[in-house]
Amino acid sequence: MSLMSYLGAIGAAQREAMDADERVIIIGEDVEANVYGTTGGGKSRADKGDFLQMYGRDRIRNTPISEEAIVGFAAGAAMTGLRPIVDLSYSSFLYMAMDQFVNQVAKNRYMFGGQASMPVVFRSAMFYGLNTGAHHSDRPYPMFMNVPGLKIIAPSSPSDAKGLLRYAIDSDDPVLTFEACLLWGSKEEVSDEEYRIPFGKARIAREGTDVTVVAISSSVPEAVAAADAMAAEGVSVEVIDPRTLVPMDTRAILESVSKTGRLVVAEPAHRTCGAAGEISAIVSEEIFDALKAPIIRVTAPDMQIPFSPALEKQMYPNRITIADAIRKVAGLR
């Protein structure tokens, strides 16, 4: 075990996968210079752990700013023997390649009757909450959840980041990872061994009996903090992190809500057609009778993200708004 940051864990998973399989390559803007911190040991190419030094230009591919071609090249390469990891840096840049994601990456295997497999991972990080304005603050994973054929993960801790990414790289299907820039610095003890966390298995971030909170990405630590605060008010809150959004571990969610009868869903994406709405719909479809109160969603509003520090913070769920929702669903106000 080592104390590892979320970002470091991602770097570690990439390094292990690069070492394990020569077909794994990294493609992306500024990956050579380790600008985003997952392809090197430090700030200099001379630093120990620098990917370019270790794997060479053939496998560490600095690209032009051409997201659509980057994604398409990776898809074509994945169908013909490589296993690319594509670093798209900000999630807000995925739109540039939307056609490739939806029409090629997600559909090819199906359309071709299973002739192709598509072992490729597309990494990006959601940079919200950092006063970078509307162009850099998107949390667009819900729209990709509406596209069958993609698998989607959103790790919320260093050990999940490492294990899920490794599983993603080993998977023969296309995976999109939505990392959370806000969590980059969070640290915990992470195994130095190789390990993989299979998709479709939620993590119970905190056990409880009165209210279930399903939280996504950076809302997980906020939900845990809210749960801690609620314990003081005598409410026992269970926090579930689905970790993988497609496939979603609905069983774990349903089991928890069957027990608690009360559900809050918290996520940083926009409200309409978000993951929270989906989870709410599934739960009321499946275990309507178990529900003791209406499900409450705590999400970003259907509004773009303003730049000013005086405006931005209120846009995302936090421990206070989550705790308010818990109180409400528990009938405490």
Binding site: G76, T80, M111
Partner: protein, 339 residues
């Protein structure tokens, strides 16, 4: 054929066998597409099909210049490419009808034919979308140190999709073994290329530092073959990508059964082009040059016609897929969990 610069080693002329194979594949495309057209009109093929009738030289000149293992992607004008690459006709025809024996198990249909066994990585219903896929296959060849070349077929219409230039540029800096082949049949649906194309497509290569060539007589299978052979040789020699624009003409409507009036295309223009039927031209050439007799070529035509008949028979006798198969093939693992 205007060449910008010729770097690749000069190509050997095609052998007699190769020429016969060219004519065979052109005939396959012609007869297959003629039959498909009829089947659309009779309602035997659902959806829509786009024929390559009139463009056979451009297709076959290109595919015959590739090796069997080389990769290829295409577009909505989709049957010619895999046929040209050597794909057997039965599963292709069965796919058009939506049978379980189709090359994509009935899931793709005309617009999304793919036959990985002959390096056909997929046609695409989205104009321009499969271009970077071909370049990605060339990236595999490059990283895995294989000798594959990859070729992307696309139309004059697709030549205005930005992803083409992103792909050309990135393949250019990485010197990937990929050929961008523009089938300039002078129209994109109802839109004449010259009304929506600023400059000359082949000329766009130069600004991106790659080799560019315009094959003016795309009805001559040998001209296309030579241009693509050179590009493939350059690609295999590590000299990077090429952009080849082939001037040709589609004899049929944009898609079979589509009626958009003829106002956009001068009937007289079409008449002139019909006289430049690539199959007739090549037949005459083969006879004139003494490579084959008329009888030999008649026999070839009969043979291919029988092949197409056989493909239709195969299709007719094939079952439709079971409804539940619609829920397989999306993911490689535990597919049922998503159904």
């Amino acid at each position: 054929m205007i060449k910008q610069e010729a770097k690749g080693s000069s190509m050997a002329a095609p052998t007699k066998d190769q020429m016969l194979e060219m004519q065979r594949r052109m005939l396959r495309i012609r007869y297959f597409d003629e039959r498909a057209s009829k089947m659309v009109k009779r309602g035997h093929i659902p959806g829509t099909v786009h024929t390559s009738i009139g463009q056979e030289a451009q297709v076959v000149g290109a595919t015959m210049a590739l090796r069997d293992e080389d990769y290829m992607t295409g577009n909505h004008r989709s049957h010619g490419h895999p046929i040209g690459k050597g794909s057997p006709l039965g599963p292709l025809m069965a796919e058009l009808v939506g049978k379980a024996t189709g090359v994509c198990k009935g899931k793709g249909g005309s617009l999304h034919l793919a036959d990985f066994s002959v390096g056909s990585l997929g046609e695409s219903g989205i104009v321009g979308s499969s271009i970077p896929i071909a370049a990605g296959a060339a990236l595999s060849a490059s990283v895995l140190k294989k000798s594959h070349v990859s070729l992307a077929f696309f139309g004059d219409g697709a030549a205005n999709q930005g992803v083409l230039y992103e792909s050309i540029n990135m393949a250019g800096v990485w010197k990937l073994p990929v050929i961008f082949l523009c089938e300039n049949n002078q129209y994109a649906l109802s839109t004449p290329a010259h009304t929506v194309t600023s400059g000359v497509i082949a000329d766009r290569a130069a600004g991106f530092g790659i080799f560019g060539v315009r094959v003016e007589n795309g009805q001559d299978v040998l001209e296309v073959f030579n241009a693509v052979s050179e590009a493939a040789a350059r690609a295999r020699a590590g000299e990077g990508p090429s952009l080849i624009e082939v001037v040709t003409y589609r004899f049929n409507e944009h898609s079979e059964g589509l009626r958009i009036g003829t106002d956009y295309r001068d009937p007289e223009e079409r008449e002139q082009w019909l006289k430049r039927d690539p199959i007739v031209l090549f037949r005459n050439h083969l006879i004139a040059e003494g490579h084959f007799t008329a009888e030999e070529l008649d026999a070839l035509e009969a043979e291919v016609l029988a092949e197409v008949d056989e493909a239709v028979r195969f299709t007719d006798e094939s079952p439709y897929p079971e409804p539940e198969t619609a829920f397989a093939d999306l993911y490689t693992d535990k597919e049922e969990q998503f159904a």
